[in-house]
């Protein structure tokens, strides 16, 4: 992920202060996000539902 894209995404997430004061940490976080997501074989079956399933209830 290039620096400009990281900066744009960080600003969109409200991380302007972190970007200004800790730019290397923001870049490292973005890189980690890319690496972890890439490790997953996402289901191709559209009916494969997530865990935990929605259950009717009262909420809080």
């Amino acid at each position: 992920m290039d620096d400009q894209l990281v900066a744009a995404l960080a600003k969109a997430a409200g991380l302007e202060k972190a970007l200004a004061d800790y730019p290397e940490d923001v870049k490292a976080a973005a890189a980690q996000a890319m690496n972890t997501a890439a490790a997953i074989q996402y289901p191709t079956d559209p009916t494969a539902e997530p865990w935990p399933p929605m259950r009717p209830g009262l909420g809080r």
Partner: protein, 464 residues
């Protein structure tokens, strides 16, 4: 005669009943040990000695009057500093929450008080149970009693270090990606991540709602079971809590493993993340020990560790971002660098990836459930390496993710890590046992059989 600080909770309780030791005598001995070792180990963030002596006196009075509340009555316990104790700060080892005084006890704290346990104070953790070991926080990181130059594991670092060093016989920690089992592995003790939903998380600062567990650490399997007995129970105030009849976790400890079928997940440590040779040897030896005790051991396969870790990280960082985003936006400088780096990735993960990870999670749960059609318990690595040197950030970063604990946070199965040897450098090696949902008692049964067949529980750190 065993020194008071090496007594297990069960042994101390029996000594209380026999009037050969009193809760006040035990706490007095432990307090002296804490005062001597705390400067070296930093297990405590906050020692609550006044409350502890008061609780010990009350326990002594009640036990002497014949009103014992059970095996934890008068037993000192430490709590990871993400668990609320009314009137004490829950700092999460962070500048962010230095003044966060808990208004009420966590559910587990209430249960421990009801059992008569003596709450000794709040223990060191990685910042918010994720950022450590760190030297840029308001409190120093805990150290490993086997060698204080080494990391005690985390994030329940003070819990592991304190139990292993004989500062208290039992402790509570939390486990989102392995944080009870990592310090248990690094410090040569026993740590159990119970089945998801078995123990209430009310009053425990969250890291990741669908991955967080609270669990016991102890020097013996029996103590782990006793502590689990005290803290289980359905809690409608915890949305993840499950009504269950799972109780009496000491009942099966002496049944042995004859006729149990154990699935050995070798690919975790052989090919997914090749383990340190001494760890590999310890795991093979653990399998041989259980075979010699009468279990049938067979090799089994699950999805790869790399993928389990990816699913865990996407879910964990997404859920953690939803908790920490306001502080990360306004007060990024009040986090240590490691927590900042480990909590911000959630800002960069698309919602679709989070949902995708939860969908893959359902398939991974199915894969582990399939395995349990053929076996009763799984055996696998916990850590792939002995504990890293605490000042060697590169080694810690390299070894920290080399572990096989996250799969069972993803699936929610009960998983226990315990000592399985000592490296040539004198650092603990470890093994992990995993069971079916709500069959935590079977996991403890296998662990107890392994404990009896080896002498690792008799080894203590060379710390006095």
């Amino acid at each position: 005669m065993i020194a008071a600080h090496w007594l297990s909770a069960a042994e101390a309780s029996r000594a209380f009943a026999a009037r050969t030791l009193s809760p006040v005598e035990l706490w007095t001995a432990l307090l002296a040990r804490i005062e001597g070792l705390q400067p070296k180990l930093h297990a405590f963030i906050r020692l609550d000695a006044d409350a502890a002596i008061s609780a010990a006196r009350t326990a002594e009075h009640e036990i002497t009057a014949g009103r014992s509340r059970g095996p934890l009555h008068g037993i000192p316990i430490g709590l990871k500093d993400i668990i609320d104790v009314a009137g004490l700060p829950t700092t999460c080892h962070s500048k962010i929450l230095l003044d966060n005084v808990a208004k009420a006890d966590a559910a587990v704290t209430s249960k421990l008080r009801a059992a008569g346990a003596v709450i000794t104070g709040k223990l060191a953790t990685h910042e918010f149970a994720i950022g450590g070991p760190s030297f840029d926080l308001p409190f120093p990181p805990a150290r490993n009693p086997w060698n204080p130059q080494h990391h005690p594991g985390g994030s329940s670092s003070g819990s592991g270090a304190g139990v292993a060093a004989g500062l208290f016989p039992v402790a509570l920690g939390s486990d989102t990606g392995g944080s009870v089992r990592n310090p248990a592995s690094a410090c040569g003790i026993v740590g159990l991540k119970p089945t998801y939903g078995l123990v209430s998380r009310r009053g425990v600062f969250p890291l990741s709602y669908t991955l967080d567990h609270v669990g016991p650490l102890a020097r013996t399997v029996e103590d782990c079971a006793l502590l689990l007995d005290a803290i289980v129970g359905h809690d409608p105030a915890d949305p993840g809590s499950t009504p269950t009849h799972a109780r009496d976790f000491t009942h099966d400890l002496h049944r042995g493993v004859r006729d149990l079928r154990i699935g050995f997940i070798r690919h975790f440590h052989e090919t997914d993340m090749p383990a340190h040779p001494e760890m590999t040897a310890a795991l093979e030896d653990a399998a041989r020990v259980l075979q010699s005790e009468g279990a049938e051991v067979r090799t089994m396969h699950l999805p790869t560790l790399n993928e389990f870790a990816g699913v865990n990280r996407v879910i964990l960082t997404s859920e953690a971002w939803s908790i920490h985003a306001p502080w990360l936006r306004e007060r990024p400088g009040d986090y240590g660098q490691l927590a900042r780096r480990r909590l911000m990735p959630g800002a960069f993960i698309p919602a679709g990836d989070y949902v995708g990870a939860q969908r893959r999670r359902a398939q991974m749960i199915a894969a582990v459930e399939d395995a349990f059609r053929d076996v009763d318990v799984l055996l696998c690595a916990s850590s792939m390496d002995p504990a890293s040197r605490i000042y060697d950030a590169a080694e810690t970063a390299r070894t920290y993710s080399r572990q096989a604990r996250t799969p069972f946070n993803v699936t929610g199965h009960p998983a226990l890590a315990m000592m399985a040897g000592l490296s040539r450098d004198g650092l603990p090696l470890s093994v992990q046992f995993v069971g079916r949902y709500f069959q935590d008692a079977t996991v403890l049964r296998v662990a107890a059989a392994y404990e009896r067949a080896t002498d690792w529980r008799k080894r203590h750190p060379p710390i006095g």
